[in-house]
Amino acid sequence: MAKSNIAIELINVDKHFGAVHANDKVNLSVQSGTIHGIVGENGAGKSTLMSILYGFYQADSGQIKVFDKDFRATSSRQSIEAGIGMVHQHFMLVDNFTVLENVILGSEGGAFITKSLANARIELTRLAKEYGLEVELDIAVEELSVGMQQRVEILKGLYKGAKVLILDEPTGVLTPQESDELFRIFEALKNQGVTIILITHKLREIMNITDHVSVMRAGKMVAHRETSKTNPEELAELMIGRKVLLNIKKSKAKSGKALLTAKNLKIHNEQGLKRVSGVSFEARSGEILGIAGVTGNGQGSLLKALTGILPLSQGSIEIMGETISPKHPFNPKQLRELGVAHVPEDRQKMGMIAEFSASETALLGYHNDKEINQGVWLKRSSVKANCESLMEAFDVRPNDPNLMSSNFSGGNQQKLILAREFERNPEVLIIGQPTRGVDIGAIEFIRKRIIEMRDAGKAIILISVELEEIMSLSDRIIVMCDGEITGMVDAKDANEATLGMMMANALQPQNEQQGVEL
């Protein structure tokens, strides 16, 4: 099916944002009717490049051709007219509109929409059949699963006549099964001659699904490969410019006594919605307990309750001989004093204060410590020294305590937060998304440090939406779905398929039984 003509061609596309050279003379040609992957670390310039194609930004220089025609978009409307559709990482859907209403949004065609709705219904039914994209048209989008919402986004693109679909990290919010389903849709689209550009940082997806792959690093397009003639190791090396250890070696866990025991927890979030119910587990010393699940299935609220930010509605948590219950709550300060460290999921909003200097961010949660206070006086020299030693321990760059927190890269911000939490010698570590938005070099470093803490006999609870991270770090794995534990397995028995089933709560009862016994 795939013809050899070129769908999209970029020639020497250049884009600056102030000091940042986001795209440095990028060349790319995407063959029509193929699936083309673009990989690169965060900040490599992938999203900028795609935003130029979609008319959000204009290139400083260079040439773009879409189906052999010169193309220069100043708005997304022009891109849509040229046949380019985009599925963003965060869906652009109106939650309380129906699928049909969402699809015609932006192409209503006049003041009265009855007619265009009717036309759209016919057209969508045809598209759905052709590409295997069945979606209930009259249901409100908010009632659809994330995977289904993504289908709506794809349908929206196709309805507007997209010949080229750009998908930005489409599997970030999906279970493995939903991802597989998405990839099947990709195949169907490809067979109908649609060109797909897939932006991702997951090498496995690239290997499984794409025909060609281009690698970006620091704004430059560093390599183009035929997917069948490359391998993940080569791609990873191209992405970061040196060899990396993707699988961290670790010894067998020497698990000791339970340092944290959660019993029958029920937790409501800040808005008063029930997010967790009937959750029990224990975290033992010298062991990493991974909590897996698709984003928004209660892991976040669980983490906040374990660290004293959210109160318990029911149940109890025993930590270091103390019992936390709805009647006897602990606040984050008291928990820190007990030896519980917390690396929050949302680094930018919770873990640091963007406008504070690094030395002040390095103080969050510990500003009452004796070492830095003398009477009423918060000793600036000690604050600075504290930050300097943390920066040295975790190789934070640049090692300038006076630099504003927001001026560090994501990886270095995260290292500073980890240093702050790890260096106080806590007994229980509760870590959320340790490597989200962090470059590969720092990921390796961070994971090694987490394992070092485990080997030092700490109890570690790791919450991550990256299944690969959970599997490579954890000794035991809990899977959460819809606020409940849907599976509990030893890491050595875990594989992506079963975890994926647990994440969707679709495991056979006998297996679930087995999970409970563990």
Partner: protein, 366 residues
């Protein structure tokens, strides 16, 4: 100089400077419209405020009030709170000062009476701020709305108290009797005279030292104590504060108490320093002026001292303008104040892009 450093200079010094100059330029244009020569007006204003002892005395006396209310607004601002209630807190704070200065044992030494009277102002100012603070923290009523309402409440309350309680028998005007002499803060010209220097009489009194003391105290508190750290953390990020074990609700209440207490000090300048009695509307305009001062001073005590001095100049110079020029009334000061708020607050970053482009351009290599 690194780029970061240049940026902080732009933010801290050049922006406010350019904003203030723009406000003055706009005032100049208004002068042209009402048929006044702006250069002439500027000369009168500057001479009136700074050109001779008495004028300078008045300028500093007005500035003292603005330091108190400016600090009050700034402290609240660092906790992310916009305290518009300085006017009311100053008013009620004056009542606290007056109660001490009226009813304390007249035989007591000034060394005891003055600190007590100052404490009275601090306490009553804080009390007047604590209710809006509580409502914001625990009931979700917006502090901007409640503090404005509390300004009106303060105004009515003070009229009632002055007319029905503190007014002396047989007096027509709603004001208290004289404070006991031990509570009077010495005038600066008297202090100078006691050392043998003769300067012109003005209302400037030793409360200016209190203002300097509290400026330093606020600076130390905000940037060099753990409580100041907690306030600034809560002001920047609620989530990060909670994460750090800081209770943002408590921060709101504590910060507003401090803010109200600082505003409550206006009374010591006006009442203990100058009038030696409690009277209606002694606080008039200083609470709101404090907002402009804090905005202009970028919520830093040093900036506030400078901005308060500038406002002192405007107040005193404005009075001179009123006196010298036929078609200018004292209200021109309010116009200028409004323009300062407009350019320092509303259009704070007007010049930032252009200043950054010329003075701290991003380099290719970075």
């Amino acid at each position: 100089m690194t780029r970061d450093r240049r940026l902080s200079w732009i933010n801290g010094l050049l922006l406010p400077l350019f904003n203030v100059l723009t406000a003055f330029l706009a005032t100049g244009i208004i002068f042209l419209f009402i048929g006044v020569d702006p250069v002439e007006a500027t000369k009168i204003l500057i001479y009136g405020a700074l050109g001779y002892d008495e004028g300078l005395g008045y300028t500093l006396y007005y500035a003292t009030n603005f330091v108190f209310t400016g600090l009050a607004v700034a402290v609240a601002f660092h906790a992310g709170l916009f305290n518009i209630g300085g006017e009311g807190q100053a008013y009620v704070g004056g009542l606290g000062t007056a109660l001490v200065a009226l009813y304390i044992n007249p035989a007591m030494s000034a060394w005891i009476v003055i600190p007590l009277a100052i404490s009275g102002g601090l306490l009553f100012g804080a009390l007047w701020a604590i209710i809006p603070a509580y409502l914001q923290a625990y009931r979700g009523s917006h502090i901007v709305i409640t503090t404005i309402m509390f300004n009106f409440l303060a105004s009515s309350l003070m009229v009632y108290i002055l007319v029905n309680i503190l007014r002396e028998v047989g007096e027509m005007s709603p004001e208290s009797g004289d404070f006991i002499a031990a509570s009077w803060l010495p005038f600066v010209h008297d202090v100078f005279a006691s050392f043998g220097y003769k300067i012109a009489k003005s209302p400037l009194n030793l409360s200016i030292l209190v203002a300097l003391f509290f400026s330093a105290a606020v600076w130390f508190f905000l940037w060099h104590t753990r409580w100041g750290f907690a306030i600034r953390a809560a002001g920047k990020s609620n989530e990060a504060a909670i994460y750090s074990g800081i209770d943002p609700k408590k921060i709101i209440v504590v910060t507003m108490c401090i803010s109200g207490a600082l505003a409550g000090l206006v009374g010591i300048n006006e009442l203990m320093g100058v009038q030696h009695r409690l009277f209606l509307n002694f606080n008039y305009g200083y609470g709101f002026g404090g907002i402009a001062v804090a905005l202009m001073g970028r919520n830093h005590p040093v900036g506030i001292l400078i901005a308060a001095f500038l406002f002192g100049i405007l107040y005193q110079g404005g009075a001179e303008l009123d006196f010298e020029l036929q078609n200018v009334s004292r209200d021109i000061v309010v116009v200028m104040q409004g323009l300062v708020i407009l350019f320092c607050g509303g259009l704070e970053y007007l010049y930032k892009p252009i200043l950054v482009r010329f003075l701290a351009p991003v380099k290719e290599s970075e």
